[in-house]
């Protein structure tokens, strides 16, 4: 009833997993996130097209301050570049002090990302109960992106702390996973910026 496989082995003691799973799952979250973003995009475009009672963009509702909005994009891009450099180094097994430095840079830029975004949202100055639907969806979308930056930022913090304290040196798959995730969120936030500033 039992037959020996061609390799002569019938059983193994341990199964590999680990890194591949991390990168794969990071991409799964991006796929799920896509539905969320598409739903918000759908809401944005639908509310704009319908414009019931002219309430999409009533008079007196301005767009967010341009300069601050662009600055809010600069920091996530800095983080992205730093993370890319980290992944580059770690995947080529060139683990050095540079990696720690880059990680700190990424972390600082990530924190500033969150801070500037919070500041930007305070500048919206929209009274949500009477500002119409453009203001509502833009606020909601910015809030969602802020939440996502915070979540991935916390993940980054844990990776940095683990690496710096030596309890969990950064592996290539971890670096890749967080790079993918941050790149996705940065890309989405650029799209959101363009929509909110120009497609209003």
């Amino acid at each position: 009833m039992s037959e020996v496989s061609p390799t002569g082995l019938t059983v193994v003691d341990e199964v590999e997993g680990g890194g591949r799973t991390l990168v794969f799952t990071s991409r799964l979250f991006m796929a799920a996130n896509t539905t969320l973003q598409l739903s918000l995009l759908f809401a944005f475009l639908y509310l704009r097209a319908n414009n019931f009672g002219g309430m999409w963009h009533p008079s007196g509702i301005g767009t967010p301050p341009q300069v601050l909005a662009i600055i809010s994009l600069v920091f996530p891009v800095i983080t992205l570049l730093a993370l890319w450099a980290v992944w580059n180094a770690v995947s080529k097994a060139r683990v050095s002090n540079a990696v720690s430095g880059l990680l700190w840079l990424a972390l600082v830029a990530a924190v500033l990302t969150g801070a500037v975004r919070i500041l930007l949202m305070y500048q919206f100055n929209w009274e949500l109960d009477s500002a119409g639907t453009y203001a509502a969806i833009s606020t909601l979308w910015y809030a969602v992106m802020l939440g996502e930056f915070i979540l991935v930022g916390l993940w980054l913090l844990s990776l940095v702390m683990g690496h710096v304290r030596g309890t969990d040196r950064l592996s290539a798959s971890h670096a890749r996973a967080i790079l993918d995730q941050w790149a996705y969120i940065t890309g989405v936030s650029i799209v959101v910026y363009l929509l909110v500033q120009y497609v209003k």
Binding site: M1, E3, S5, T7, F24, A31, L128, I137, L140, G162
Partner: protein, 630 residues
Amino acid sequence: MSTPPTLARRLSEWGLLLGVIGAVIGFIIGFAVGTHAIPYSFGEDNSLGSDPGILLGYALSVVGFLGGMGFLNYPIGRLFGAKRPSEEDNAYLHGEGGGLSRYFRMTTDHKVIGLQYLVMILAFLFVGGLGAMFIRTELLTPSPTVANAQSYLTLVGLHSTLMIFMASAAIIGPFGNYFVPIMIGTRNMAFPRLEALTFWLLPPAGLILLSTVFLGGFTTGWTGYAPLADQNVLGMDSYLIAFALIGMSIGLSGVNMIATIMTKRAPGLPLTRMPIFVWSVLVTSFLGALAAPALIAAVLMEVFDRSYQTTFFVPAGGGSPYLWENLFWFFGHPEVYIFVVPAFGLVMEMLPVFTRRPLWGYRVAVGGMVGIGLLSFVVWQHHLFVSGLAPSLRPFYMFSTELISVPTGIIYLVALGTLWRARTRFTVPMLFIFGFFFNFLIGGFTGVFLSDVPSDFTLHASYFVQAHFHYTIMGGEVFALLAAIVYYLPKMTGRTMDTKLLRFQFWAVFITFNGTFISLISVGILGMPRRVISYAAYLQPLNISATVFAYGLGLSMALFLGILLWEVVIKQRVAARNPWESLGVEWQVPTPVPTFNFDRVPVAWSLPYDYDTGKPAADFGPAVPAFSGA
């Protein structure tokens, strides 16, 4: 244990109590902050508090609950760069050492999580079923008698929402969690803590939903249509938070399952040799992971509408009810396939065992389920045929909806092919499987009438629709659930139930179920709308018939629960090792299944359906026979 238990471990023993304390503290903080710090509040009855207060209170109470249970220990530890948990810590968390306390705390063993899910599902089913009994009692007369309008609609909402919660995890939760890792030869899920989280989101969701009765209830039913949802009193917030929690559970569980199946399969097990049940879990998980975020988006907008007085769904403020309807049903339609696809997988997994033949058309079955999964994303507007939305798109959605009956029909093809010329063993699970196919056939047939737009004009929003989805979800998924419980109980608990009693129970539930819902099909065709407390007098005889049968149905379901509790918990009737003589890997491992499933993972795998040769699914070596007497 060589070292004394750490503080974290000792606290974890008290996890549930700490969780409750955390929930209370979280609620108080959230409620205070929400009520006082967030200035907007509705011009409704605010004697109980404001919407932001309730919403934030619920949200923080869930965070507090999870914190008390110990879910935040690992993330917070990592944020401080703490060492990874030790081998012993992991083993403890995994439930090494056994004992009943594993089931009442955060445990990462997928088998424990599976059993936890099973209990939760049965609890939802029971409470939701009670709601149904009340509804049917009220509908004995054409005018309000035992309930008033507010409580009736809240009952309707509770019954339907609890059943939706139940159905979304009824098969994946208990059986997906318990058996998928075993069936693919891995020791645990890809993210065990995450899986524990998806379970522990359910009890708060259920309790938060039930707490609506203290906040005035909600009048929208489970579909939560805005702008009625904007109008509702505080009880609506319970529905929103509870549904959001379930959506997160579905999404996270989906991601976890996909990651596990795709990256942690044993070497020597390609996708094309996985048991069909695992395929159904894979398809369902994609549906869950990709559809749930649409619900989250919709709920977020509704939360904003109710607390910040935005007007996402209020036309006077620039919004649109169609926005809610579209987002909700974009989630809602894949959701119902989340209900039914695992049931298909389970039924097809059991058929070979009871027909002693390989599954006929395994690849076609996989193709069918993948087809259902893909199509389910492009049919959602069939819920909106009469809504006045996009009439030019109706032919497309009619076409896509009718098309979905083709892959569904493939499941019947595979079943008939397997059954043809088979000497079927008429065990209790087999009875339920036949019941499944009979009921789902009616359910699918009624669906055809709804997919066609002209006939949908007559039948939409009537009891015909109600009967359609009860036939598919209850007649389909719940029957498959009952079959699976009877089938897998010997494996999961080492116990079994009395066959004669179960056979009686099957016929009772089958007859009463069909009696109830054939009455409701008729009443729907004759023009009775859904969710009404009063109806036209000429519909009363059929409603009485439905109620009488429904009482019988309720009693039969309660009987099942009674048999389960009596035989498994009280009498503890011991089962044979492999009573169904199945070739599946899950039956080759010993009972109780070892904590980490396998001492050594097999590398030579085949489909577990080789009943003509008796070859087992995986080769554990000469020491483990598949079953005595091939």
